[in-house]
């Protein structure tokens, strides 16, 4: 409890310093107020957006795309990873291609995806899918190939065959490392959602930023950026809770 209060105190101080710096920059800068608004103006813009309901509509749209892109990516990547982790002879032919595609920023695919699918939900979903896919796939493959061989020996001895072997032994044994990849991918995917919506969509938080720029509403723009940050923290916290719950029900590794 004490620890929680302390970390809350740290968070409050940290954010207060951030706002203070912003305010100081506002005072000393010679930019027009419309181009570089104060924290107060951004906060007013936030209230304006919550009153009109635009904000929640865009959050809903973004979260919907995020959920579809992220979860489909995690499911496909974990499934593939569980299979490929058990087939090192196949994976050695797939790995070089994965290593070639992995360092490409998902945004580089954007124009191509827009050409294929047009503007709408799909480009943002595809970008998130790509962003989450490689970290989850690679961590799953690594996790499966690093499983303590004794679990496999015991499974063989007790006659545990596929598919039971995967869900009874391999997945739980690999889970802590897979969860690590899923967690890392969440942050990456959230970052690229905004990129995807800035280019390939007419709605959502990313589009809201572009729209604010087009209307020279820097206050709305900054307010949206803050909202994106806050949602990122909340998503991270929710995932940590889910991870903890799963690990706890499995006897809590650590």
């Amino acid at each position: 409890m004490m620890k929680k209060i302390l970390s809350l105190k740290n968070a409050v101080i940290s954010i207060a310093i951030l706002i203070l710096i912003w305010q100081l920059l506002f005072w000393v800068s010679s930019y027009d107020k419309a181009l570089f608004p104060s924290p107060k103006m951004a906060f007013d813009a936030l209230l304006e957006m919550t009153d009109s309901g635009v904000l929640f509509e865009n959050i809903g749209t973004s979260m919907g795309r995020f959920a579809v892109g992220y979860f489909s990516s995690v499911i496909v990547a974990v499934t593939l990873g569980l299979i490929l982790g058990r087939l090192p002879n196949v994976f050695k032919y797939i790995n070089p291609a994965v290593q070639l595609l992995r360092p490409i920023s998902p945004t580089a695919w954007m124009p191509f995806i827009v050409l294929l699918f047009g503007i709408g939900d799909i480009p943002a979903v595809v970008i998130i899918f790509i962003a989450a896919f490689f970290p989850v796939l690679l961590s799953t493959v690594a996790a499966v190939s690093n499983i303590d061989p004794i679990y496999l020996k015991v499974s063989k001895n007790f006659g545990i065959k596929q598919p039971a072997l995967t869900w009874k032994v391999i997945f739980p044994a690999a889970f802590p490392q897979i969860a690590n990849g899923i967690h890392l991918a969440l942050g990456t995917a959230w970052i690229f959602l905004v990129a995807g919506e800035m280019v390939g969509a007419q709605s959502g938080l990313g589009y809201q930023i572009i729209d604010a720029r087009n209307n020279i509403r820097a206050d709305i723009l900054l307010a949206t950026i803050l909202v994106i940050g806050v949602i990122g923290i909340i998503l991270d916290g929710l995932l940590k809770l889910a991870e903890k719950a799963i690990l706890k029900s499995w006897g809590g590794a650590n």
């Binding site: 004794i150 679990y151 020996k153 015991v154 063989k156 001895n157 007790f158 006659g159 545990i160 065959k161 039971a164 009874k168 032994v169 739980p172 044994a173 889970f175 499995w250 006897g251 809590g252 590794a253």
Partner: protein, 256 residues
């Protein structure tokens, strides 16, 4: 003969050097016997056990159980490992039920059987604990209960008490001796501890390293109640000590 190893050879290549783990090893074991494979590291005792348990195959010769060549592990012959091999995400009860699930035993019966064997190893009341909440000795008890729960014909034990402290080890030795009498299983037990072998075995298979081979087989005529301080016990133990110091490489069957 129930278990029959004939002329088994097994080589490994390690860092370009050939290593002979088993050099023409032959061994017969009867049903219900408690056999200890005893020897220093590198003598092939674990390799022989792995060949019997079906985890590894020999390069030449044959390994037969009940007249059938051993090609893969079977749920009829359970191996107990030194590092337990419990699944940390399952509680004690679920760990013991593991093999029963593959045997498609109905849920209620699984739980009953698991509880019965947990009682046998002295762990009633620990059903809901997780492996990491148990001591090493308790974890090995769970592994033994899990093995016995599927009612195997043979129990292979690969230095099962090697990671435990001396007191816990002695307690578990007594328990496994008692269980082997009660459950009437054939047990093949790998160890490098001479006293452990004398305490447990009906026959001790003494093995030597480089190349891995059987030096001699010693019958232990000590009956079912064994006392580590008893003169007969010490006599057998000294005989084995002598064997390890002897220069002669003859294959002798000892009858003490």
């Amino acid at each position: 003969m129930y278990i029959e190893v004939k002329d088994a050879c097994k080589n490994f290549v390690q860092e370009g050097k050939e290593f002979i783990a088993l050099d023409h090893v032959s061994l017969d074991i009867e049903k219900g016997e408690f056999i200890c494979l005893l020897g220093p590291s590198g003598c092939g005792k674990s390799t022989l056990l792995n060949a019997l348990a079906g985890f590894e195959r020999v390069n030449s010769g044959s390994v037969k159980i009940d007249g059938k060549e051993v090609t893969e592990p079977s749920i009829n012959n359970i191996t107990i490992f030194q590092n337990y091999g419990l699944l940390p995400w399952r509680n004690v009860l679920k760990n013991v039920e593991l093999g029963l699930e593959s045997k498609k035993v109905p849920k209620e019966e699984r739980e009953q059987t698991a509880k019965k064997y947990l009682e046998l190893v002295g762990l009633s009341g620990y059903e809901k604990r997780y492996p990491r909440q148990l001591s090493g000795g308790q974890q090995q008890r769970v592994a033994i209960a899990r093995g016995l729960a599927v009612d195997p014909d043979i129990v292979f034990m690969d230095e099962p008490f090697g990671a435990l402290d001396a007191i816990t080890r002695m307690k578990l030795q007594e328990d496994i001796l008692r269980i082997s009498r009660e459950e009437k299983k054939t047990i093949i037990f790998v160890t490098h501890d001479i006293e452990e072998a004398v305490f447990l075995a009906d026959r001790i298979v003494v093995m030597m390293a480089d190349p891995g081979r059987i030096k001699s087989i010693v019958k232990v005529p000590l009956g079912s109640h064994r006392d580590r301080t008893n003169d007969d016990f010490l006599y057998v133990r000294d005989k084995i000590f002598e064997l390890f110091n002897m220069k002669v490489d003859d294959y002798i069957e000892y009858n003490i």
